[in-house]
Symmetry: C2
Subunit: 350 residues, 2 copies
């Protein structure tokens, strides 16, 4: 596409980091936020990559999101913590919570952190993977603003509430599942709109409840749940584990990232870690994971596929390409960032 510019990841990272610092974010948090954005792009999860920067900066500028949050522990159990995110960008709370889960599960076997009062944390895999890189099993769930009807209904009540689980391997990148409980993540529909591309059939209904491939119509309508009743059930459970357990609230208590600029987004997370040492043992667990990986990779390939991938493996192939060729940044995204940058006295030339 001529309307897309390719920017090398380290150059893009420096720009993102500087923009966050100019927007009053503390340097360490600015580096974290830049890393979540670049990592999303490097895995091809472009919806939570550079395309999200504009709205993050805009939320800070309008006062909707707190640039200098102080995540605060409200309650602490033997294997749990409840955290108030202080209406910051969610990555700041989520890193704090996940670091605690990773450290504490070594003593307790399992640990669960529930967090309320946040803006979105971006891509869920970032946090589950933190645990897997430390030899733990990591979980990351969050709720999201309503965009999906419960199965059998026709009003948006549920979010696309993702589930991410990451599992350590002996060598190589962890197995990383990261999936919306909708047929597709809503941010992918936003991205299709940015790019001026249609969406696949089965992703969404328009506002009259009719199937559509037009991302604009889809954004006014409803996202479809994964596999009907099952995706609805998973989405509801994720919402109750995040907004319910943390006390932050569920369904329409979660605000739109893009449209609710007069208040906090009120997103909740459930972040957990399991230490395999307390079960069959870490080396035994990793031996089983590696055996599973070998069997999956040796599976005969079905017609129309090139190979059988592990969850997260296609995404890691994208990384290799983008390390060389750069991250694609659509023209509309550049314009949005340039406009936000001008408020911060910075010229962005991509």
């Amino acid at each position: 596409m001529t309307d897309t510019v390719f920017v090398l990841p380290e150059r893009l990272r420096r720009i993102v980091e500087e923009l966050f610092v100019r927007a009053s974010v503390e340097p360490d948090n600015a580096a974290l936020l830049a890393d979540t954005i670049i990592e999303a792009n490097m895995r091809g999860v472009d919806s939570h990559g550079i395309a999200a920067l504009g709205i993050y900066l805009r939320r800070i500028r309008t006062g909707a999101t707190n640039p200098r949050p102080r995540p605060r522990i409200i309650k602490e159990g033997v294997a749990s913590v409840l955290i108030d995110g202080d209406n910051g960008l969610g990555a700041i709370t989520a890193r704090f919570a996940m670091e605690k889960a990773i450290a504490r599960c070594q003593d307790t076997a399992v640990f669960l952190a529930c967090c309320f009062n946040n803006t979105t944390f971006g891509a869920a895999f970032y946090y589950s993977k933190m645990a897997a890189l430390e030899g733990k099993i990591g979980f990351a769930l969050c709720n999201a603003p309503p965009s999906m009807a419960p199965w059998g209904g026709k009003k948006a009540l549920l979010g696309t509430n993702p589930i991410s689980v990451a599992l350590p391997r002996r060598v190589g990148v962890p197995i990383v599942l990261d999936m919306a409980t909708s047929a597709a993540a809503k941010s992918k529909i936003y991205l299709a709109k940015e790019r001026g591309e249609p969406i696949p059939p089965g992703w969404a209904l328009d506002k009259d409840g009719k199937p559509t491939t037009d991302p604009e119509e889809a954004l006014k309508g409803l996202v479809m749940p994964l596999g009907g009743a099952k995706g609805y059930g998973l989405s509801l459970v994720v919402d109750l584990l995040c907004g319910g357990l943390s006390g932050g609230g569920c369904l329409d208590k979660v605000m739109s990232l893009h449209r609710s600029l007069d208040r906090g987004q009120n997103v909740s997370f459930a972040l957990g870690a399991i230490d395999p040492q307390w079960f069959g043992g870490l080396s035994e667990f990793i031996a089983i994971v590696d055996e599973v990986v070998d069997k999956i990779h040796s599976c005969p390939v079905a017609d129309g596929f090139d190979q059988v991938y592990l969850p997260g493996e296609i995404e890691e192939r994208i990384r290799k390409v983008r390390e060389r060729e750069g991250i694609p940044v659509p023209r509309a995204v550049i314009e949005e960032i340039a406009s936000e940058a001008s408020y911060l006295g910075m010229e962005v030339d991509l």
Copy 2:
């Protein structure tokens, strides 16, 4: 169907219990196993109801399953336990594990029990619901013998590995999600075969990888994962949390319930409980659940649906009907049970 007999639940329960006792199962465990079977039927999960009794008795008779297992704690952490199921019917291990999780999570906030060396535990909801009835959030996962290819593959490696989560309510039955990670549970295909009915399109492929609605062909072929790559990913994660974490083994280390009568089935479970008191508080959690229930029930209904149900709600309606009309028992199931009963010196007249 004229070929189906309706039997009142209490009568069926007494017959099932007596058969297990005659098969050398201890009375308390026989009552538990009968309850898991009757409860499955009362919720309409007929695949794990009376239709499964014949194969349970046959496994005990042939020595494939231990009728008098002693579930043994192998390792215990602050918020965890690892249990060897001693090759018994899984309900015996799973009840033991779940009772521990429910009791212990009151002190630790979360608790996880991993169990290896079991025959299937039947329907997963039975165990997650135990926790929800005690004001906790309950989880039940298990692995299952290979019947599904990984996405992009054409060889059965993964099971239909179910996920069940149950959440407490102030009044009324808990919210109970219980779903296979395949498009449909394999046991539903067995049941269709028993009943001589076709299966819906999208559930399975025949042994040549072509779509089929014939349950016999489907059982020789492959079950399809829920929503393609996502169901595959969920199934893999469940397998690694059960067979991986417990050390019991994954993929083809799990044996067929119906066909492997020369050895243990080697099923593993992950059973967990969360106490909402350690997060936003139990009454606060239940208030949010009730608010969510109200909003789901008030959702405008889409064309072709009669109302919007909570996960598990349709199943509870089936209970009301079956309390009056009895549990449907297909003729083929009666014959199988009668044949097993004859080995135990009992005449079953349904």
